[in-house]
Amino acid sequence: MFRYFLIAAAAMGIAQASPVARSLVRIEATSQDPDYKAPWNPGEVSGGVGAGFIISGNRIMTNAHVVSNGKFLTVSKEGDPKPRQAHVVFIAHDCDLALLSVDEPGFFKGTTALELGGIPAIESVVSVYGYPIGGSRLSVTQGIVSRIDFQTYTHSGMDSHLTIQIDAAINPGNSGGPVMQGGKVVGVAFQGYSGDVAQNVGYMIPTPVIRRFLKDIEDGHYDRYVDLALSYQPLFNPAARKALGLEDDDRGVLVGSVYGGGSSDGIVKPGDVLTAIDGLPISSDATISMDNDSVPLAEVVERKFKGDQVSLDIVRDGKPMKLKIPLSDPWPFNLHSNVYDEDPRFVVFGGLIFQPADQNFMTAHQPDDLRLRYLFDFFIEDKIYKDHPEIVVLSGVLADPINVYANEFRYTVVDEINGTKIKRLADVAAEFAKPADYYVIKMAGTVRPIVLERKAVEAARQRILSRYAVTKEQNL
């Protein structure tokens, strides 16, 4: 397994002038990460350092992960010792980019806004600026462009976009810093491998991703990436090609799944062969030729926005067809994505803690329960979202005489309360708000319910809240 690190770290200091120094800022972020085990708690406060650079319009660009869950941000210019308070104006967790503003008038005086360049050529030299570990002042490293490919952006953990790999040393603290070539920004340094996995492998966010982010926010709102929401496989096998009525021309990929609720739902079918996207021929290895380079076919969609269309040439049952796909948000089930800047959602009732199972929850709790793991892992593939748009879990029991027998149900998934199917966390709160003598909670996969008597719950309420220092009973 590869081990990634995100390259924000504690570092201090200011560096001497270099042309880029007039555009560089050091960002100190105080963040508070939510506590998914005691979700009413505000969470632990920690600090980190990253880099940022000034672009047009008095804006500072950095990585989303430098400022995520931020409570207080300061930026310092090169050569100006005073940190100034900054605010996040836009943040895009799916491509790990953010824009900051500084309130103090005159902060941008004497600074230079950097311009964006294009995609640097393989083997060409680039310079990386930032505040990595190993010292406290501005650091510059140099390397060449090693590879241009799609990579998972570990900040969200689920999205992959075009990424440029460079062999310049990129270390914790480089995050958000500009990667320069010919006086222009060709990328934002954002992640790499720790040295025990691979050496001299650093990644930067290339300008097509940066430009897309800047364009997306022009309307004052970040909409996220759009997605075809389907899976496809290379079509190398000669027998498969023949059986699908394709010529032996190394073109086309086979659609495996079309995800419900996504852009292609109801338009593309499993078994279709995609042969071209927006007129660009698709090779049998799922790449297209774009900007004189071979890139994954998804790059066409990557550069589009919510509401745009993409055209597909397909072969269905041996017949060629043309399809138009209106692109929307990725299907509304970003369950497997890390979430930031949100307080954990929960309901406490009778000492039972209910939480929706999302990626943050699963990372914090690491539950072993097989049914919960199944529902989470196969949420999209097996269309679990149809019955459970949210997987509501009994995540803990604040032990009290009224609930001691519920402990064996920890990490099981709530199916019904008083005969009502539970589809979302809000349904749990709604059922408990209704007057009833008994609250009968049925968990998925077992018929033996948890039974709470209303009188007992009411009598125990204050006792449980004060004993366990629960400051809030729900956050829906």
Partner: protein, 497 residues
């Protein structure tokens, strides 16, 4: 999930005796040992397991050694684990090192017991068969026998600390266990050890935990049940009610379901096709009594011999397949009495078997695409952490097999692809569940073998439950390249059904 059916006792992980360690006080003598000596044989079993990653091959052979106990009828009793996947079994007399081969006459992996018979009956002439001591109680003392390298018998005296229903190692079936506290030490060949008292067999040691110095013995009632069944014309095994239940200790639950009886357990699952289901037991029933024995809130009853133990002892050990037990149940405010005809589990109906021993895993190779039927030993090839490390789709099929629709049959899947010109582009595919082949539903490897005889338009069309969704193979080409494939990967055969 099947493994939780029929018992509610706490499971624990035991070490097999090969992991024995610790110090031993000097052995104490027991007046029965002289008799014991004349009934004990060393059993050397060479075992060889199949490799579920390459189902046409066997893994390297290994040896297990243990002690067999001679019982009536010239038979030798050992644990089933000792001889699982055996290729050769050798008996050795203590002291004289005389040897003779043996065959397995009866083995039952659910109760972890096996009967061996010497191939030369004269080999055991002069030895004395041992009788079973059925009157074991907590606090009794028993001697565990081991063999020194020189053939002398080493003895460790232990005390029975509990008698309870617990999981047996191979199938996780809940059967009566005797737990013995005894400070034993590592000795060669300790895979089965007899525990004796006054020259009678009190149990067979099947696992030992060195840290707590606790040994688990296969209990006398389980041995007696096994021997009774083995004496019948048709071996019936151990019956199962096919139920999972949970306790009714929670007073709020008891009031909610209107249960005023003092005891009872809540039925949470009824295994389809099991004895309980056939008799009409349902989820949500509360079992109040079985065969006249009142069941408490935890699922225990008061056994005359062993005290408070799980009621599954009545259903699986006290009763034999074919017997009828009356279940007194509480259902929707009424008390009912249901006669339940007890039956052993029909292993041929199991979707994913918990063990596959003494027989080869089935497989079919088509062009280079390897198909198998899901079983737990396949998943266990991923090691101790298989629940998380093995392909999750298959883990979940195994775990939730009792929830699959009736008649789903076996889970047939592509276990791997042997790269060849016919499988170009498929090299990286593995662990994909097959739904159809050439348009025919696949519920077993036999279905697949049959479907492969009917290619469509010259192609073998293999439909999968997950990406890539479908595979095609050129039916004529894979026939032409058949011998090349066999030779390249040294396959003994392209299928074993």
């Amino acid at each position: 999930m099947i493994s939780r059916i029929s018992f509610a006792g706490a499971l624990f992980i035991g070490l097999s005796l090969s992991a024995l360690a610790g110090t031993t006080p000097p052995p104490k003598t027991d007046k029965g040992v002289e008799t014991s000596n004349a009934s004990i044989l060393r059993v050397n079993s060479t075992n060889q397991a199949y490799d579920f990653f390459r189902p046409w091959t066997k893994k390297a052979p290994f040896a297990r050694r243990g002690l067999g106990t001679l019982i009536e009828g010239g038979r030798i009793l050992v644990t089933a684990e000792l001889v699982a996947n055996h290729t050769f079994i050798e008996l050795e007399k203590a002291g004289t090192a005389e040897k003779s081969s043996a065959t397995v006459e009866r083995v039952d992996y659910e109760c972890n017991l096996a009967i061996l018979r010497p191939n030369d009956p004269a080999f055991i002439a002069g030895m004395k068969p041992m009788k079973l001591d059925q009157g074991v109680h907590v606090g009794d003392r028993a001697t565990v026998l081991q063999l020194e390298a020189n053939g002398e018998i080493a003895q460790t005296l232990g005390t029975v600390t509990s008698i309870a229903v617990g999981g047996y190692p191979l199938d996780n079936m809940g059967l009566l266990l005797v737990r013995l506290s005894a400070p034993m030490q590592q000795r060669d060949g300790s895979f089965t050890l007899p525990a004796v008292r006054d020259g009678k067999l009190l149990g067979l040691l099947m696992r030992y935990e060195a840290r707590s110095q606790t040994a688990d013995l296969i209990s006398p009632p389980v041995i007696a049940h096994f021997l009774t069944e083995a004496g019948k014309e048709t071996y019936g095994g151990f019956a199962r009610a096919g139920l999972a239940f949970s306790t009714t200790r929670d007073p709020q639950l008891r009031r909610y379901i209107g249960l005023s009886e003092p005891g009872g357990v809540y039925v949470t699952d009824v295994q389809s096709g099991g004895s309980g289901e056939k008799a009409g037991l349902r989820q949500g029933d509360v079992i109040l009594a079985v065969d006249g024995n009142a069941i408490d809130q935890d699922g225990n009853y008061e056994d005359k011999e062993f005290g408070r133990i799980a009621f599954s002892h009545i259903t699986n050990t006290r009763s034999h397949p074919g017997d009828t037990l009356v279940f007194r149940i509480f259902r929707e405010g009424k008390i009912l009495e249901l006669p339940v005809k007890m039956e052993a589990r029909d292993r041929t109906k199991i979707v994913s078997e918990s063990y596959v021993l003494d027989r080869a895993p089935r497989y079919v190779v088509l062009g280079g695409v390897v198909f198998m039927e899901l079983s737990r030993p396949y998943l266990q090839e991923w090691g101790a952490d298989w629940l998380k490390a093995a392909p999750q789709r298959l883990v979940f099929y195994d775990a939730f097999q009792n929830e699959l629709p009736q008649g789903r049959g076996k889970i047939v899947f592509v276990s791997q692809v042997l790269p060849s010109q016919d499988t170009l582009g498929y090299e990286n595919l593995d662990n994909l569940v097959v739904s159809k082949v050439n348009g025919m539903e696949i519920r077993s490897l036999n279905d697949l073998d049959e479907a492969a005889k009917h290619p469509v338009n010259g192609f073998q069309k293999i439909e999968l439950e997950s990406d890539p969704g479908v595979l095609f193979l050129d039916a004529a080409a894979i026939e032409t390249n058949r011998d090349k494939l066999i030779k390249k990967y040294s396959l003994p055969a392209l299928k074993r059904l």
